[in-house]
């Protein structure tokens, strides 16, 4: 495994072309498996595995204040403190779960509906695809700012539209109870297109024969969707849920852009990620923030494991 500790960081192109028979060339070809993988693996080890391990260590210390300050090992005290904290930690867990659950539900249902509408070719399809792509590549922070103007209680377009249909103005992002649902709406606006694209790729790869067979057997449109399309598409649906779910759990940009530090003055949109960020970089409470991060990390792994487990079950 010596190749892992002394990685060749040059690209294959940068390596000098050597005549076939040279010792270096023979060695390089024999060890190409690790030679190719080692630079990336070294990067991952140094910049990802090591920091995660360090976060684990920090979570057992009372590190806070300056990054140069001394810290002491205090065992699992941070974990006990965090897990009994019903003031900030558990509400943040609840918000993270609620946010992820709601946006996933809407994104998958809406995404499926739109993907089914786009499945068969039609005139003007190109334009719909353009419209679907744009929110997806837009910078999330800019998207947050854009919706901040639209949802502004006094000058925003949202309340003006409501006024036209006779509904009174809503506080949207500035309401203590409406802020979280409003950020969910923004996430759904931006990321439903992602689910559409994934499901559309899945639909396009399905063969037509089962559909035609069901049609000949006299199945209705709904029956064909429920008993033919959906089961065949299920693996792709799980991939979409998995990819979107991981990102939704970690949502940060739009929450920070719309509500600022700490998820607003009442922490109304403070999810675990926002909470951990605030602990680290607003309060410099590195020990506690590492504890929150480790728990957060375990939650994400747990959700992923549950979903991949379910995926295997579905494919059987």
């Amino acid at each position: 495994m010596s190749t892992v500790t002394t990685p060749d960081t040059r690209s294959p192109e940068a390596r000098p072309a050597l005549p076939d028979g040279s010792a270096w060339s023979r060695w390089a070809n024999a060890h190409r498996k690790w030679l190719f993988a080692a630079p990336a693996m070294a990067f991952v080890a140094v910049l990802i595995v090591f920091p995660v391990a360090w976060t684990g260590y920090l979570s057992l210390t009372d590190a806070e204040g300056s990054v140069r300050a001394e810290s002491e090992f205090i065992g699992v005290r941070n974990y006990l403190d965090v897990l009994t904290d019903t003031d900030r930690f558990w509400p943040a867990v609840w918000r993270t779960v609620a946010f992820t659950g709601v946006v996933l539900l809407f994104e998958v249902v809406l995404g499926m509906a739109i993907a089914l509408l786009l499945w068969r070719p039609f005139r003007g399809e190109r334009w719909v695809r353009v419209a679907i792509l744009l929110p997806l590549v837009a910078t999330p922070v800019a998207v947050g700012m854009m919706w901040r103007l639209i949802f502004d209680p006094n000058i925003g377009m949202a309340n003006q539209l409501l006024g036209w249909v006779g509904i009174g103005p809503q506080p949207w992002l500035s309401g203590q109870h409406s802020a979280l649902p409003t950020t969910m709406f923004i996430d759904i606006w931006q990321w439903t297109p992602m689910v559409v694209l994934i499901l559309l790729a899945g639909l396009t790869s399905l063969s037509d024969e089962p559909q035609e067979a069901a049609l000949i057997d006299g199945a209705s449109t709904w029956q064909r969707f429920r008993h033919v399309t959906l089961p065949l598409l299920m693996p792709t649906v799980v991939v979409a849920i998995l990819l979107r779910g991981i990102d939704a759990l970690k949502t940060f940009d739009i929450l920070y852009a719309t509500k600022g530090r700490g998820g607003g003055s009442f922490h109304e949109v403070e999810t675990l990620n926002v909470y951990a960020y605030g602990l680290s970089f607003d309060y410099n409470d590195y020990g506690v923030s590492s504890t929150v991060l480790i728990i957060f990390f375990l939650i994400i792994i747990g959700v992923m494991w549950a979903l991949t487990y379910r995926k295997k079950g579905l494919q059987r």
Binding site: A40, M41, V44, L58, V137, M145, L215
Partner: protein, 271 residues
């Protein structure tokens, strides 16, 4: 299977609603960026107003955005190129030698919350007095782009037949020679897809630059916040700044739509 007439009417109406719902907010942002702050506060001038480029002049000159655009371009470009150099050969190895466990380690990076890396990075790099420099910023963005590139390229190499490489070996090329002269040229579409996606994700990244960039190395998503004051918001400037950040990336995405879509949906249909 030609859809019925009533379905086609329903589809047209439903998709029109979807398209308007997706595009209207973006259009609204651009419209607001062309208004004075007085006009933004006037609901009677929602659509009819005399457009002005003052907000853009303000953003580009007074707010120093020319420099921030340069920063964003440099960081996204460098992170993408370095990630391609590390990621493409690694993905090749992982695909051809089915190194699933190594691949899993790289892909775990997609799962780890960015904050949990930021704390140790901040510890190390502030002790090395590197926080605020481009090196740290580029390295941190590689955390996003490298796993993405490995993920996309692994799928691409998995789908690339090995026969041509084998033929090249028979013709006397070494394994590395075959990779360089046969596989790499065949992989240009995959590399383009991975590179474009990596560039977009790096350009849009906010959290790493929020912590690790300095006043001179700020990237655009962080610079947007210059227009959000504690007491009031310069809405016209803010919308112009948001447009400057996001419009270029949307225009680029439209030109390379095919690649963006295939990158975003990579691996989705393998199950």
């Amino acid at each position: 299977m030609r859809p019925s007439r009533s379905f086609r009417i329903f589809r047209t109406v439903a998709l029109a609603v979807v398209v308007i719902g997706l595009l209207a907010p973006l259009l609204w942002m651009i419209l607001a960026s062309l208004k004075t702050n007085v006009d933004i506060y006037d609901s009677g001038k929602a659509f009819v107003f005399s457009p002005t480029l003052d907000n853009y002049a303000n953003v580009l000159q007074r707010a120093n955005y020319v420099q921030f655009i340069g920063n964003s371009l440099w960081v996204a470009f460098a992170a993408t190129v370095l990630s391609l150099i590390l990621g493409v050969p690694a993905a090749y190895s992982m695909s051809r030698f089915t190194m699933r466990r190594s691949a899993l380690v790289v892909l775990m990076a997609r799962v780890i919350p960015g904050v949990s890396l930021l704390v140790p990075w901040y510890y190390v790099f502030s002790n090395l007095r590197m926080v605020g420099g481009f090196t740290v910023l580029i390295l941190s963005h590689m955390f996003v782009s490298l796993p993405l590139i490995v993920y996309i390229m692994m799928g691409y190499f998995d789908g690339l037949p090995t026969e041509l490489e084998e033929a090249a070996l028979v013709d006397g090329l070494t394994h590395i020679g075959a990779f360089r002269r046969i596989t790499m040229p065949l992989s240009v579409p995959g590399i383009a897809t991975a590179g474009i996606l990596s560039f977009i994700f790096s350009w849009n990244n906010f959290m790493f630059a929020l912590v690790l960039s300095g006043a001179d190395t700020k990237t655009l998503p962080v610079a947007i916040f210059d227009f959000v004051g504690y007491a009031s918001i310069d809405w016209g400037g803010l919308m112009a700044a948001a447009t400057v950040v996001t419009l270029p990336i949307m225009v680029i995405a439209l030109f390379v739509q095919k690649y963006v879509v295939s990158g975003l949906t990579a691996g989705a249909t393998k199950g």
